[in-house]
Every structure is written in structure tokens, then in C-alpha cells.
Symmetry: C2
Subunit: 369 residues, 2 copies
């Protein structure tokens, strides 16, 4: 008898892996809620109060499907970016949009280029559609555009992934550097420019790219600066042909009514975003101070997290992380050497950082012993 | 120069079609909001007030990702259905879950069996992954299990789709009839049993299926009876091996914090669901009365809509539909002959049905002239 269902060859070969373990899983295992949730680069400063009010109002209307064309939000985003609504695709977070993009472009054996240690969920999608990942190392703590280009010219990938600012290292390149790459990428390769953290980066980090440029797609999100990770709204900016292609595969009703209302109100409240930028700035400085007070080395950050060099190898950093987790502080760390010498701490409010500062000395002592 | 991006052969060949046009698109085209929204089988009776309160509270917490394991909701659903949490997959509506299921099982050229005129979004996914749709006609106004089985034995499909109750006709089979099919489906075929409307159907419509049966996956939703179409939460009940396979491809953070909180509260309020069932029952009777008063034939319904036979051909039913839409009543109709002799009207509250009753005579007169 045949085993049912009969999976596709790709699905049958896939591991049941998960890109990220949620903090709730750890909480259930330990039986203790975290005292500070500083591991997933969520915004402890929250979304705009106006966005909260808009979501609460929309909860009354949730019996209705969301507009499948996401008309209002797409037009508002277009006005915000000085493009047309035909350049904007809204989806279920950047994760969802990356999945659709990979599905549109990557088939079995197709080459894709990324950096070793960059966003694992992108890799999850590429592997999930049978693509072949080709990786370059970072250059120090930076993604290395030159190495990405060099490898791309060798393997002629469908997609080249680059996050700017970078996660998990928090580093960034000037937007002009990224834009200048476009003339040098191989014919037929698409640059996937993940700008999830760009609202929190220094002026000039967003790449100045012509809206109709067919060689690049930019990914943005309401999860980070706008503080709505649990709402699941991301968007892509791309040439109209590519933007329209998402209609071939996307879940047309996938961005619901509460999600659209919340994102629209958040976008309209740029004062709140400016306020968040200030708080992130202060929090980065506070995390750096806490790190230095404990003999650790904070890396410069253009994001809402600070990556901290623990000064030894991956085993030591993992011990520090485990000791922090055991003391109720949720943090994460880079997966790949040599970056796994670091731990990654999201910007927090005063209470969360006080909790961190309170236990870090003991965590370090325990990790060293 | 190569056109960028280079799409997969499947993606390049796909039409940019959309399974359903949203009512907002029509409203933008006409410049008029609908007076009654009776086309998408949304629940005008709304979700449980407790679910609204839970979503409003969760809006405060939306800076946090939702639990990627959807632990609480999966366990609550398991208790509700008398299965284990390992039998439950929660996803972005049935639409999202159907997409994952098709991706897991259907590759280029793989056969899939469904009924001609059944759920178009399922077909959208099958076509989108390169599958080959094989269709049987309905038998009268019913999906025809015997015909589905007969065709399945000829083409040995990966999937056999059957909705019970059916959309768009509103008909149903006893659950025991569906369960009895399982012993006769071809070796290696999976029955996709879409029970989106089952909470609104007569007692005994839900198929009595053993939780570990590997030959079937059942789809359920919070969009219909629970009244939260705009929240995007559906779930599947399947044998643990198949349920776990979704982890290979799903958007792990795709069901957000507000969505999980709303669904959990809705599930807990079965009194509200009973209240909705009563209102749906009364509304079905009211729609049937309105239809008869206008010389039309309402079909029996096990759902939250009534399909009305307009007594002539598809062109006439479409004229009736267009005349209703022009008068501010959003309704839809079956896509395929001979069912396109009908229009489909969702259960509404008194105001919506009064609006319908007020304009139907004029709409019919206009369609006839």
C-alpha cells in the first residue's frame, strides 16, 4: 500500500526544521515567563497609539474579509515612497513575501546567492522550493557586496539576497553603495534588498533606487520600526511587472482587515516613528554601556538591536546566552561562526534593560565557570 | 539582455487571475458603498463579543510576534475535537492551508480531482503549482461523491477535493456518507474535506473520521460560523505525520498575535456560535421567503447563504446579479453552468435583508426587460 499522502520529491526531502524557535516554546519548557523579551528584535516601544486604536476599531469589523487589493494601504505606501501603487505589494510580513518571490523565481536546482549567516527564513524558502544556496562569508561584521557580486557572476543566480542594515550583526552600508551595485549584477539576477530595519538606520541607508528598476526588489515591514511584529504586514517595492506577478501566487485575502487598518494608521503616524527612533537610539547606547561595564564589546548598530562580542568562541557565547535565558532574559545569537562569538540583544525599555543589567554579571560568571 | 527576474516555467505560464474580486473593488468603481454586503458569505452577525474584546486587548501586545507553535489555540482546538494537538495545524485561513497542502503534494502534471464549479481558490493553488485538474460535474445541485471516486480511480490523483457542505450550492451530504468514502478512495489519494460551513449545517454533517486516518485532511475556519473572515485563521485536522509536514513549508510566524487571541476566545464561546446558528436559520428562512415572493426558487441550504434559482440561464442570473449590484446589494453567483442559473445570497441581518427585499422586484424587472 502506498503511503498517503504522496509528497512531492522536494517536500519529501525537506527537513522539518523551523527557522526560529519562539520564546513561548522556552517559556513552556521552563514553566517561567521571560522577565525581558529581548531576543526577536520586536519593538518594546510598541506601535503608535493611533495604530492600536485603529486595530481596536477594526476588530468590530472583522466579520468582513480585508480588501484583497489592499487598495488604501498600497496607495498610502505609494505616496509615502513617491511611487505608484503599481510598485507596491503588501503581504503577510516579509517572510510571506519572500516565500512568494522565491516561488515565482526559484525552481529545483536554481542558484541563489546569499551571505553565510544571513536571514535563515530566506534560506528556508529557497530550500523549500528546491533552490541551491550559494553563500559568501561576511567581511568582518558586514555583508560583503563585492563577494556577493563575484559569486553571482560565477553561478548566475535567480536571486541575490542582501539585507541592509544587516541582521544579525546590525551593520550597514550607505544606500548609495547598494544602489551602485545594480549596474554590476549579472544579467538576469534579481537583487532582493531586505530593508526591514531601514527606518532605524542613519539617514542615507535606504538605497536610492529608481522605482521602475527591474533588477531589484526591496522588502519593508511594519514589524520593526513600526512595532507590529504580531500583525504580519510587510510590503515590497518593485517594478510594476514584478509587483503584478505576485498576484499569480499570493493569498489574495491573506492580509486581513485588522492588519490593513493597523498598518495604515501606523504609516500615517510618522511622529511616532520618530519617537521610536529616539528611544531606539537611547536604548542602543544603554545596551552598549551595559556590555562595556561587563567587559564585552558592543558592535555599532543601525537597527533596533545591539550585537555584542563576548570575546571568545561560539561555545562561550552560547553559554552566556543560556545563562541569560535561565535568568529570564530572552536573547538570541548569530548561528554561524565567527559571528557566533556574539549575542544579539534587542532594544528594550528601561525595565527590560535594568533586568538585563541586573543578571548579566552573574550570567557571565556562570558561563566562565 | 535577459528579462529580469527569470520566472520559473510554471510562474511564467500562470495567468494573473484572481479567484475572487472583492466588493471594495466594485465600490471604488461605482463610487458607492454597498448598502448590504451579502456576497462573500461573511457573517453579518459578527464574532463573539468576547472575541472582539480579546482582539482589542491583544492589539496592545501586537509588538510581539505570535507564538509560532500556536500552542494555546492548537491545544484548545484539540480538546474541542477530542484529538491531540499533533492532529491540528493552524494557518492563514483555509486558503493559506490549501496552498501549503497543494505545495506539499502536487508537482507539475500531478493529477488532482475536484468538481466543476467547486471552490476556485483550491483550483488556483493546484494550477499555481503546475498540477492537472480533473473535474466531474455536480449531480443536480450536489457534489457527486460517486463520480469523484470513479474519476479518482482512473487518474489516481494526489488530492481529491470535496466540500461538505458545498459552496456555491449550499447542499450537503450526511457526514456518514463522506466517512464511508474513505475505504473506497484509490491507494495513495488524499481526500481534502473542506468543512468550512459545517458549524452551520444540520447535526451529523461533520464526517465521523478517526483522527489518525491518513487518507483524509479536514479543513475548518473561523471565517464563517465564528464570523472572523477578516482575521485569517483556519485550521486542518489530519494524521500527525501530515500535520507535521506543514512545518516544512508554512510561514511559521504567519498567524499573528491578534489572530490567535481572537480565535481562541471565539472557540471558547460556543454559546455565541449557537446564537449565530439560530440567526442563520432564521435568515435562511427569510431569504427563501423573499425569493419565493419574487417568483424565484430558493435551494435548501446547510450553510450561511442561500442559493436561489432564477429560473432561466446564466445570462439572466448575471443580469439579476448586476441589477442588484447596481442597487447597492453585493451578491455573487456560481461560475459554472448549469449552476450559473442561480445567484448566491449570504445570510444577513434584518436591515440587509430588508434592503434586498426592497430592490429585488426592480432588479428582476430590469433583468427581464
Amino acid at each position: 500500500m502506498t503511503e498517503t499522502p504522496r509528497y512531492t520529491p522536494i517536500a519529501a526531502a525537506l527537513p522539518a526544521s523551523v527557522p526560529f524557535v519562539g520564546p513561548e516554546t522556552t517559556e513552556r519548557a521552563t514553566g517561567q515567563p521571560f522577565r525581558a523579551r529581548l531576543g526577536a528584535n520586536e519593538s518594546l516601544f510598541g506601535p503608535s497609539p493611533k495604530a492600536i486604536a485603529a486595530m481596536q476599531a477594526a476588530a468590530q469589523d472583522v466579520w468582513m474579509y480585508g480588501d484583497p487589493e489592499v487598495h488604501e494601504l498600497r496607495h498610502a505606501l505609494a505616496a509615502h515612497h513617491g511611487v505608484s501603487a503599481d510598485h507596491v505589494v503588501v503581504g503577510e510580513g516579509i517572510d510571506g513575501l519572500l516565500g512568494y518571490l522565491v516561488r515565482l523565481t526559484v525552481g529545483p536546482g536554481d542558484a541563489v546567492v546569499t551571505s553565510d549567516g544571513a536571514y535563515p527564513t530566506f534560506n528556508f524558502h529557497v530550500t523549500g522550493f528546491g533552490g541551491a544556496l550559494h553563500k559568501v562569508p561576511y567581511r568582518g561584521d558586514f555583508e560583503d557586496p563585492e563577494a556577493l557580486l563575484e559569486l553571482a557572476h560565477r553561478v548566475r543566480p535567480k536571486l541575490i539576497y542582501l539585507a541592509n542594515p544587516d541582521n544579525p550583526m546590525g551593520s550597514h552600508h550607505p544606500g548609495a553603495t547598494i544602489a551602485a551595485l545594480l549596474d554590476r549584477i549579472p544579467d538576469g539576477s534579481l537583487l532582493v534588498l531586505d530593508e526591514a530595519y531601514v527606518e532605524l538606520a542613519p539617514e542615507g541607508t535606504a538605497a536610492p533606487i529608481m522605482a521602475d528598476d527591474p533588477r531589484v526588489i526591496r522588502m519593508r515591514t511594519f514589524s520593526k520600526g513600526y512595532g507590529m511584529a504580531g500583525l504580519r504586514v510587510g510590503y515590497a517595492l518593485a517594478a510594476p511587472g514584478l509587483a503584478a506577478a505576485f498576484n499569480k501566487v499570493r493569498n489574495h485575502f491573506g492580509v486581513g482587515r485588522v492588519a490593513q487598518a493597523g498598518a495604515l494608521a501606523a504609516l500615517a503616524d510618522q511622529d511616532w516613528l520618530a519617537h521610536v527612533r529616539e528611544r531606539v537610539d537611547a536604548s542602543r547606547a544603554a545596551i552598549a554601556r551595559i556590555a562595556k561595564e561587563n567587559g564585552l564589546t558592543p558592535l555599532p548598530s543601525a537597527t533596533n538591536f545591539v550585537t555584542i562580542d563576548c570575546g571568545r568562541d561560539g561555545a562561550f557565547a552560547r553559554a552566556v546566552l543560556n545563562q541569560l535565558v535561565a535568568r529570564g532574559i530572552f536573547v538570541r545569537m548569530p548561528f554561524v561562526a565567527p559571528h557566533d562569538r556574539c549575542i544579539r540583544i534587542s532594544c528594550g525599555d528601561e525595565a527590560a534593560l535594568a533586568a538585563l543589567a541586573g543578571v548579566l554579571p552573574q550570567a557571565l560568571a556562570a558561563a566562565r565557570s
